[in-house]
Amino acid sequence: MNALAFAWRSLVRQPARATLGVLGVAAVGALLFDMLLLSQGLIVSMRDLLARSGWDIRVSAGDLPGRGGRVSAATSTAERIAALPSVKAALMVRVANAQIERSGGGPPIGDAPSIGGGPPIAAVFEGIGGRSRHREPIAPPWTVVRGREARGDTEVVIDSAIAAAANLQVGGTITLRASCVSDREALPPARLTVVGIAEFPFAGTNEDAIGGSLDALKAACGGNVGDEADLLLVTSVGEPAETAAAIRAEIPHLNALTNDQVVGRLQQTGFTYFRQISAVLTTITVSFAVLLIAVLLTVSVNQRLGEIAALRALGFSRWRVVTDVLSESALIVGSGGILSLPLGLLLASGLDRILKEMPGIPADLHFFVFERDALFTHIGLLVATAVIAALYPMRIVSSLPIAATLRDEVIG
């Protein structure tokens, strides 16, 4: 009977204790796995999201896109950027808050839009205007899933949530007010035609979005829009880093970042909190697992000292009895570790849903992303847990005085 089989029989001998250990490791392991997924999840997800958007470079007035002020003289800036040899296209993005009336609405009440079908729907209006050197069509930062792309100053695409809430179909009309300067503006409502239903990857989970041209946005804002952009999206024909450097050289007061540089900045700033939390919780969970297994094994070994001494007297080597303890630890941690994977994924899915409720988090961004490296780290930490937890009980059996223990067992 090898050490592993022997350890298995020892565990089965005390099923309640073994079950407690396995379940404890499964619970702690699930948390550990989630912390590992969290530590890199946002970075991986954001990198993926940026890559899928089709734009290589983001130009903004602040240190990161979406932070700081707006890009002034946006049209001429976009033209200067588009004129650079390594730039394929540049797209101005202007964002405004909008209030959409529900269909069948009556006259406006006070400052609010008419809400015959219920309260107005708050949404983000993304207005875009592009500059391309070769007059090629420029893809918007959304994906039309039904209908067609919006054109001119009277057409928009909306997300499916707005379509459902306002009972709108492609070809329908929405009445909305957008605030391009201040939320306190009292503007007349604008009527725009819905020509498509689109997905907005950077819109928040609970954030509804509308997309259209800058002219459509201007119409919705009652013409009250300066020549400003929140962001300029750029596609390059060459190496994005070189193009970004060229943009920075051309317009030094703006920040031009490649997708990798954006991810790098986020890693150094906002996402650091998650990594720190993850590191702290990982340490705590691993420590808890070590303590749990160490206590269970120590109690188990202490209850079997007589048997272990007898085995040693019968000729079992010190190495063999130590291996038995290590095998027990490996079996508990291994079984719990296997259970921890589905449990961790289930938990990650629930936690991801909760965390994505935070305002401003793009719906397509995930906090917990499965990665092979996280799995390997998880396995590595569990192996380390099994070994570290077994150290003390292994020391007990390896240094067990055979004769004294046998004598004590008889006297006891």
Binding site: R9, S10, G306, A310, L314, G315, R320, L406, E409, V410
Partner: protein
């Protein structure tokens, strides 16, 4: 002296205690030869078990020399002593120390497995030993399903697994009633008659009287040796 298994010359064993060393065994000179049947008796605390542990290489003398098969036990590494115990020495304990999660057969098989015997050899030897101790029918029973006498018989089978030269028994009938103790004593006689040297530490006069040599200990010393 080719048939000498254990040669103890002036061995002593002292234990360090806060109040000063306690000499459990003092200046014992003793030889155990192949086929010997020795009983060690004496009052509690006189050093019987300590002597047995030294003879069985689980403890080393703090003075004197103890040779097992001509090798000085004090110079052997822990691993070599373990190997010596596994292949040359059998132990029987008052409390049996069978592993409760294993069947009788699996308990007997353990030392064979540790010694690296093949599965077929283990199975054959286990069956042979359970037949020998009269427990073939109980091979698949766990210790909790066996009586005290049956457990001790399984322990004897386990101790004989690797065909030891020397069988050491520490109060083998200590936890058994008189009738069961007599059965175990008869079994041990048979083991000895079949060629295994036997050293029994016991308080049981009946058991001691079955031995060819009876050593009486007092205060760590052999006070008297009687040959019967």
């Amino acid at each position: 002296m080719p048939d000498v298994i254990v040669d103890a010359q002036h061995v002593g064993r002292a234990f360090a205690m806060p109040a000063g060393p306690v000499h459990a065994v003092r200046d014992v000179t003793l030889q155990i030869r192949a086929g010997d049947h020795v009983a060690v008796r004496g009052p509690s605390g006189c050093g019987k078990s300590t002597l047995l542990h030294m003879l069985g290489c689980v403890d080393a003398p703090s003075s004197g020399t103890l040779l097992f098969d001509g090798r000085d036990v004090a110079t052997l590494s822990d691993a070599r002593r373990s190997a010596l115990r596994l292949t040359r020495i059998g132990f029987i304990f008052q409390r049996f120390f069978l592993l409760p999660m294993l069947t009788a057969a699996e308990n007997v098989e353990l030392p064979l497995s540790e010694a690296g015997a093949s599965k077929r050899d283990r199975q054959l030897r286990t069956k042979e030993l359970l037949d020998y101790v009269g427990l073939s029918a109980r091979a698949d029973h766990r210790p909790s399903q066996l009586s005290g006498g049956e457990m001790q018989r399984v322990a004897i089978a386990r101790a004989l697994a690797n065909r030891p030269q020397l069988l050491l028994a520490d109060e083998p009938t200590g936890e058994l009633d008189e009738a069961t103790g007599a059965q175990i004593a008869a079994l041990l006689d048979r083991v000895n008659a079949d060629g295994t040297a036997l050293v029994i530490v016991t308080h049981d006069h009946t058991l001691a009287e079955r031995a060819a040599r009876v050593l009486t200990m007092r205060d760590g010393c052999i006070e008297q040796e009687t040959r019967q």
